[in-house]
Amino acid sequence: MVFFLEQLLNGLNYGLLLFLIAAGLSLVFGVMHLINLAHGSLFMVGAFVTVGVAGWSGSFWLGALVGVVATFLAGLLIERLIVRSLYARSHLDQVLATFGLILFFNELLRWLSGGTPLFSPTPDGFGGAIEFFDGFFYSRYRLAVTVASLVVAAGLWFVLAKTRAGMLVRASASDPEMVRHIGFDVRLVGAMVFAAGAALAGLAGVMSGPLVSVEVGMGEQVLIIAFVIVVVGGMGSIQGTFWASLAIGLVDTLGRAYTPVLMGGFFEPRTVASVAPSLSAVLIYVLMAAVLIARPQGLFAR
């Protein structure tokens, strides 16, 4: 029971982090019809900058701040220099150019970091575990990340649903002509959405730092999972992205925790040890296949 609760919270934590990444991807696609492979690179940059600055200054918080700001600025810069020319291009061109960005960022960080994985310290005051009830301990940092992600997700919902800026974003997605007619610059909306998406991915990277090893290639791992989320949730539906993120986070985490246990009832331990890891790694893709068979347009598409 305690094990299950812990895994459940871990899955929730993972799903919410994934949402921060997938949300930007989904919004950028919804508003600008752009497929951005370099989105995962921004996640990676956020994690690396935080580790770097925290190591240099001794303060995780300074690192986190610089990490988020840096990814926001990187987003603005990338949008201005490269992505803006891609909106009117084919998806193939978009894929190629943003793949070029991945190559660049990966190699740059491999060069700067020397290619070895880095480890980010847990920020002061968030180490250790807290005791929920008798015998159930949970990592204080993971809990803080879960709460922070929830707050950010709620904030994103509020901005999109309740504010003028959010209305503008939604209108740009469904009817860019109209937005132009009422006197707004659709390109500016696009740039802000792109940079905000970059900052969200960067924030996810910042918060993931202490949970995983910070290394080159971490961006594409989450990018591919974010794509699975967008397909499962339905293209361009932010609500679908949210629920699909939670579903994928839970399926992956619980799958990894319970596949060996479940298999243990049927197979020898040696078989379990060799098959279970790759079996649980493919669970989310099986989920994607199931969704494609049952509802090809995604679970939450209108």
Partner: protein
């Protein structure tokens, strides 16, 4: 085009083994890139999952070797059959939605194949396994690079010949139409999905063939064949070589290998230059490098 083939045919007479090997490598990757380009030109299918087929072909050689079979006449057709089955399943699922989701879904399924195979102990898991010598062709040894070079050259010529025939056939013409305007083709009585599936499987089988050849060339099989970055590099070759011609991928492979040869002289992090080069060529060299070169040479190409 003919000029290039002539060069490849006389190359073994004058080149030392290492350089000849580089040319063989160009032909192998070029074959895979031509296949990726075929699916884009004929059917409008931008696949970011062809690494799965390339790797599947390579791993089939390893699996046959594990089972004690080493002759190309038996092993290679079986390998292509296995790739075709895999492509049929992935294609059926990925074609259930259209457009940009296709890119994400093919990438997702390729990652799934990566996890399954790289998790298998008998296939060398994360490290891969050496092959100790190439397959034989009806009992003849292919271990000398000269013989293997000519075999690959003949195979490449055959593949390109088949592609030319297909592209001129009614089905090929229809597929080109589908790549341009799917709705229009439906109004002319075509069922796009069926034709696209056939084109996708064909493209995958050719890529798998290149994977079979690559396994024999390196005499080593490992997860690197299946890595998503292979899919990206194949697309880069297509773009550099030019999407408009069937053999563009071959030129793209040549350009990429030359690029690596030149820049890896200066730094092991040569991809730091490749990324921006890809971006620049997408933004400014619309149709790839190959058409520009062809124009200079005054040649024509199908």
């Amino acid at each position: 085009m003919l000029l290039l083939f002539l060069l490849l045919a006389v190359a073994p007479l004058g080149l030392e083994a290492y350089l000849l090997g580089e040319l063989t490598r160009v032909m192998i990757y070029g074959m895979a890139a031509c296949a990726v380009g075929f699916a884009i030109r004929h059917g409008g299918l931008v696949s970011f999952g062809h690494a799965a087929f390339f790797g599947m072909g390579a791993y089939c050689v390893l699996m046959a070797r594990n089972a004690g079979y080493q002759d190309a006449l038996l092993v290679w057709p079986l390998a292509l059959l296995a790739v075709a089955v895999l492509a049929l399943v992935i294609g059926l699922l990925s074609l259930r939605t259209g457009g940009v989701a296709f890119i994400m879904i093919t990438l997702g399924f390729a990652q799934m194949v990566y996890f399954i195979i790289s998790g298998s102990q008998s296939l060398g898991a994360a490290d891969g396994l050496p092959l100790f010598g190439r397959d034989t062709l009806a009992g003849l040894s292919l271990d000398a690079i000269h013989g293997f070079h000519y075999l690959v050259l003949v195979a490449l010529g055959l593949v390109l010949f088949v592609m030319v025939c297909l592209s001129r056939s009614p089905a090929g013409l229809a597929l080109r139409g589908i790549a341009h305007d799917e709705r229009r083709m439906k109004a002319l009585g075509y069922a796009p999905k069926r034709l696209q599936l056939a084109a996708f499987v064909f493209s995958a089988v050719v890529t798998g063939f290149a994977g079979v050849l690559a396994a024999n060339f390196y005499q080593f099989v490992g997860p690197a064949y299946l890595h998503w970055i292979v899919s990206g590099e194949l697309l880069v070759m297509v773009a550099l070589g030019g999407i408009a011609s069937l053999s563009g991928g071959l030129f793209g492979a040549l350009i990429l290998v030359l690029f690596e040869a030149i820049f890896s002289e200066y730094t092991t992090y040569w991809r730091i230059f490749l990324g921006p080069a890809v971006i620049l060529s997408v933004l400014y060299l619309h149709k790839g490098v190959h058409p520009a070169v062809e124009r200079l040479l005054g040649g024509r190409d199908d």
